[in-house]
């Protein structure tokens, strides 16, 4: 009886703070787990039997560079729309889900590219279809500003779409190896591939640490405690990564590594790869030249 009374008269728990705290933990966990899932999901697409997946990564890299250069040099909205259409077609024939491909590009681009281009909408000289007068000031978007912004956003969207398409249809390992065709030093490619490989290991370690903390937190912890825990976790993870880097180096030495990086290239450029490369570069060049006629 006395227990129930004391419980009833006990001060109410600070619920909002607890909710906030769990939300922070769950959000961090979800973010890390999402990054891992996203990577696995991307690798799954790269293993599908699609058009781009069948093309040699070096040819694909050449096609990507050609198309991105065309998008950068093109000042015509329609030429850019044509390039975007090509990217959509390539995605369709490479079995990349349409909604995934479109959402991934268009959810972020208008916001980030829009912020960059926003001032130019108002400050580019020209006719203002919508204008407000504030004292001696005339505020409103100008027509050339709007057209310029649309072209800029389209250009960014095409470039990002192409980058997404390249990454989604090519395993990371192949993509990194294909950089050899651009004479990127072997040691740089090795470091990139090792970084990519170990990021996931440490992400998993971070997930484990967050889960352990979540399972043990039952009451309210102050912001100071949380910050202390985070800094401790960062230090712990760094210490682990340092120890592991020593072990990995030992494993490399144990397999004959002497500081000179050697890699194997199993890629084969076939007639189909050359044809895809030449056709894409021709279409990209066509899109740039076409602006004179549009």
């Amino acid at each position: 009886m006395s227990i129930s009374v004391s419980l009833e008269t006990a001060p109410a728990r600070k619920k909002p703070k607890q909710k906030e705290q769990l939300g922070w933990l769950e959000k961090t966990l979800a973010g890390i787990a999402g990054s891992i899932e996203q990577a696995v999901f991307t690798e799954e697409h790269s293993r599908k039997d699609g058009w781009l997946q069948r093309i040699d990564p070096r040819a694909k890299l050449g096609m990507f560079i050609g198309m991105v250069l065309a998008a950068s040099f093109s000042n015509s909205f329609w030429a850019l729309a044509f390039l975007y259409g090509l990217a959509l077609l390539a995605a369709r024939f490479s079995r990349v889900p349409f909604d995934f491909f479109v959402k991934r590009v268009w959810l972020g681009i208008p916001f980030f590219a829009g912020i960059v281009v926003l001032p130019s909408i108002f400050f580019t000289p020209g006719e203002r279809p919508l204008a407000f007068t504030v004292g001696s000031w005339v505020i409103g978007p100008t027509l050339p500003g709007l057209v310029g912004a649309a072209i800029f956003i389209m250009r960014v969207a095409v470039s990002v779409s192409l980058a997404v398409l390249l990454v989604v249809t090519t395993p990371w390992s192949d993509l990194l190896k294909s950089l050899q065709a651009l004479h990127v030093p072997h040691i740089f490619i090795l470091l990139l591939s090792m970084t990519y490989r170990y990021i996931f290991l440490f992400l998993r370690s971070a997930v484990d640490m967050f889960e352990v903390r979540k399972s043990r937190v039952v009451g309210y912890t102050s912001g100071h405690d949380q910050r202390r825990w985070i800094s401790g976790s960062v230090g712990n993870l760094m210490n682990r990564s340092f120890k592991m880097s020593n072990e990995v180096y030992a494993a490399m030495l144990a397999r004959g590594f002497t500081g000179q990086v050697r890699s194997i290239n199993t890629f084969r450029m076939t007639g189909r790869d050359w044809l895809a490369l030449v056709l894409t570069v021709a279409l990209a060049a066509g899109a740039v030249i076409a602006r004179r006629f549009l």
């Binding site: 390992s173 144990a254 004959g256 002497t258």
Partner: protein
């Protein structure tokens, strides 16, 4: 200093005399190790956690250099190998499978990891591909060749790590806890593999504290105690039957190992 129980007659692959190794130059990791390993021997290295098994394997692989004592591997001074001298040729003959497969699998794909060793040896591309195919098939993981290590299960990672050493075709294979935390089927695959490699004449040293696999993979057992010294060195069956020795080395605990029997029955 421990006594050396090495078999007479076999051509020595490793010869250690009074070897001492200190972590960070201060903490004793191994002390007074006398050991000779003959060519073609299958040897199990037993010891509790922290008894120095992994350190001894790293010394044998020429990754660490002893702080005191003499150590020769295949006629070479291991201290010189650890300093980088002749290490390239040494690692053609001695392969180490690390305890943590995440350490061993540092490349972007399983294939790249398996190919890493042969590529460092400067072999032709055709030979590298042939060795990779062979090692992947031996470990039954050909279908995982293009997978990234983070996509693999624990057992698959272990198999890939072993394949990455088998592709070097070493004469001496050092295995650090190869069956730890594996399901029984994968464990059995590895036991079979070690037996097969042994039948092919390879020298195999397996560090483990899983006693049930020891009679299957080794004819000789070396026990390291918690003072990081050799406590026993002898035929597998003889060492495994010495319960008092195993208890002393913290390899078994009376209450855990002999369920249903009173600890006093051990004496």
């Amino acid at each position: 200093m421990g006594r050396d129980y090495s078999p007479a007659g076999a051509e020595p692959v490793f010869r250690l005399e009074g070897v001492r190794y200190l972590y960070n130059g201060r903490q004793v990791a191994l002390d007074g190790i006398n050991l000779t390993v003959g060519r073609g021997e299958q040897l199990a290295l037993l010891g509790a956690n922290g008894s120095g098994k992994s350190t001894l394997l790293k010394l044998l692989d020429g990754i660490f250099s002893p702080n005191a004592g003499r150590m020769q591997a295949m006629g070479r001074d291991v201290a010189a190998v650890a300093a980088g001298q002749d290490s390239f040729r040494f690692h053609r003959e001695v392969g180490l499978v690390f305890q943590d497969p995440d350490v061993q699998l540092f490349s972007a794909t399983v294939f790249d990891d398996v190919a890493f060793g042969p590529l460092q040896l400067g072999l032709s591309q055709a030979e590298v591909l042939r060795r990779c195919d062979e090692a992947l098939q031996m470990m039954e993981i050909s279908h995982l060749a293009k997978r990234a290590p983070f996509e693999l299960s624990g057992g698959e990672k272990k198999r890939a790590a072993i394949a990455s050493v088998l592709s070097l075709k070493p004469e001496v294979i050092l295995l650090d806890e190869p069956t730890a935390a594996l399901d029984p089927r994968t464990k059995w695959v590895l036991v079979n593999l070690i037996q097969k490699l042994g039948q092919d004449g390879k020298t195999i040293i397996t560090a483990t504290h899983e006693l049930e696999i020891v009679p299957l993979i080794a004819s000789r057992v070396i026990v390291l105690d918690e003072n990081r010294q050799i406590l026993a060195d002898g035929p597998a069956q003889q060492v495994l039957n010495d319960t008092a020795l195993l208890v002393k080395a913290n390899l078994i605990h009376p209450e855990l190992h002999y369920l249903g029997r009173s600890p006093s029955s051990l004496s």
